[in-house]
């Protein structure tokens, strides 16, 4: 089986089952909106304040709400021993990982596509001014979130304390990527222009994505099978 075709089959299966039930997607979107609402009580969202903290606010919303999707990604395979069936299928561990990651990526991007305009309305943020670069940041940082989340979701799937362990593993590991995404989003939503100093954050994001994708692919077989 062609490597990418195998991964695509698994991603399509995941997306299909999610779109039919929408259990993780609905919960995640409403959770994201609830956090956006809660942040408005934490500080007075005037123009200057929003300019300063828009990156942090947005990425905390994305990172916290994504935990729901990432947790469900493998947890939904546990009842009826579906995970064992997937492992014994012709798909390799790496294909399984990539397929799961691709499905999670698509779902997280949907959540972000809903939460971003709502953030713009609630906080009067002009996020469309440098949309191209902002989309690039979203794509890169969401992939970082996906890859770390999918790896650790696979790692913790059989644990009794799964829901407790996942955030304890994901958020510290994610800090470099989140830091980069927050810095870049602050600049882009705050309508400043990117200077040379900011490009190191792009490099960090890209490097993070490449390193952890390769590590995740290399470790997948070990995590699933042993």
């Amino acid at each position: 089986m062609n490597f990418f075709r195998g991964a695509a089959v698994i991603a399509a299966k995941d997306l299909r089952s999610e779109l039919r039930t929408k259990e993780a997607l609905n919960a995640t979107i409403s959770f994201a909106l609830a956090i956006l609402l809660l942040f408005s009580f934490a500080f007075d969202p005037d123009a200057d304040m929003v300019k300063q903290i828009s990156g942090g606010l947005l990425w905390l919303v994305f990172a916290f709400s994504s935990a729901l999707i990432l947790n469900r990604s493998f947890a939904r395979e546990v009842p009826n021993d579906c995970l064992d069936a997937l492992i014994s299928s012709p798909a390799s561990g790496a294909q399984l990982f990539l397929g799961k990651a691709a499905a999670n990526y698509a779902l997280l991007l949907v959540v972000e596509a809903v939460a971003l305009p709502v953030f713009g309305i609630f906080y009067d943020a002009h996020w469309t001014r440098q949309l191209g670069l902002l989309v690039l940041v979203l794509l890169l940082a969401t992939w970082a979130l996906t890859v770390i989340g999918t790896t650790f979701s696979a790692l913790t799937v059989n644990l009794r304390l799964r829901e407790l362990m996942l955030p304890a593993l994901v958020y510290p590991a994610l800090v470099p990527a989140l830091m980069a995404a927050i810095q870049l989003t602050n600049v882009l939503v705050g309508s400043d222009t990117l200077d040379r100093e900011n490009y190191i954050w792009f490099r960090l994001l890209a490097g993070f994505d490449v390193i952890f994708t390769l590590l995740g692919l290399a470790m997948a077989e070990t995590v699933f099978v042993g």
């Binding site: 790896t151 593993l169 590991a173 590590l215 070990t222």
Partner: protein, 227 residues
């Protein structure tokens, strides 16, 4: 026999630490700008070097476990990580005390401090993961994978003072391209590193013995359940 070797190592380590303390507090003069508080570097930096060495050993042992499936590697990885985490805590606490005196604040979110704190959190998560898994083979396998992931942050901590302009001081040791410290003042850093490495090795040996005993108890328990 093994006990005697351990005791001998402990005596050497204690003597070395006492000698270093004498040098640091009685022989070395105060630093021109920082006064006496600069002496904290003789604990802060060796603790960092010791914890990175321990985490590197953890990485090697984890890779060793994944390739050989030998449980002894898992015992090494668990022990060195636990000991490394203790030294990482020493590093963070001493750094924070120094910051309070020199900067006037206990903590600042610059790249070096943040990445070191993240490193600490990741290895705490490693120990939490180990406690959360009861089945020994699964525990060994999954924690080995996490150890490999966590080590990437050690590299970030190491390189952070080169990649970003941080509030944390740049390298002071000549071998890392720093040159801010007189050679006579640098030597005790190495001596204290050696003392801490010895202390770390003793702790690892004790911890490994505990881990081996635990494995034995696990297998006895399984045998008892089998009947």
């Amino acid at each position: 026999m093994r006990n005697r070797v351990l005791y001998a190592f402990a005596v050497v380590s204690a003597a070395l630490l006492a000698m270093n303390l004498y040098t640091i507090f009685m022989k070395l003069p105060d630093e021109l700008n920082q006064g006496m508080i600069y002496r904290i570097i003789y604990f802060h930096l060796p603790a960092a070097l010791t914890c990175f060495t321990a985490f590197f050993c953890g990485l090697v042992a984890s890779a060793g476990y994944l390739t050989t499936k030998d449980m002894r590697y898992d015992a090494v990885a668990a022990s060195v990580t636990e000991v490394g985490l203790a030294f990482a805590t020493v590093n963070l606490v001493t750094g924070s005390i120094w910051g309070r005196i020199i900067w006037g604040i206990w903590w600042t979110w610059d790249a070096r401090l943040t990445s070191m704190f993240v490193c600490w959190l990741l290895y705490v998560a490693y120990l939490m993961l180990r406690r959360a898994i009861e089945e020994p083979v699964q525990r060994a396998r999954l924690s080995a994978v996490l150890s490999i992931f966590a080590f990437t942050d050690v590299i970030i901590v190491w390189k952070s003072i080169e990649w970003w302009r941080t509030q944390h001081p740049g390298p002071v040791l000549t071998i890392r391209g720093g040159g801010g410290m007189a050679p006579g003042m640098q030597a005790p850093i190495y001596w204290n590193w050696l003392a801490m490495m010895l202390l770390g090795a003793i702790l690892v040996a004790v911890r490994m013995r505990q881990e081996n005993m635990r494995r034995e108890i696990d297998s006895l328990r399984r045998e008892a359940y089998a009947f």
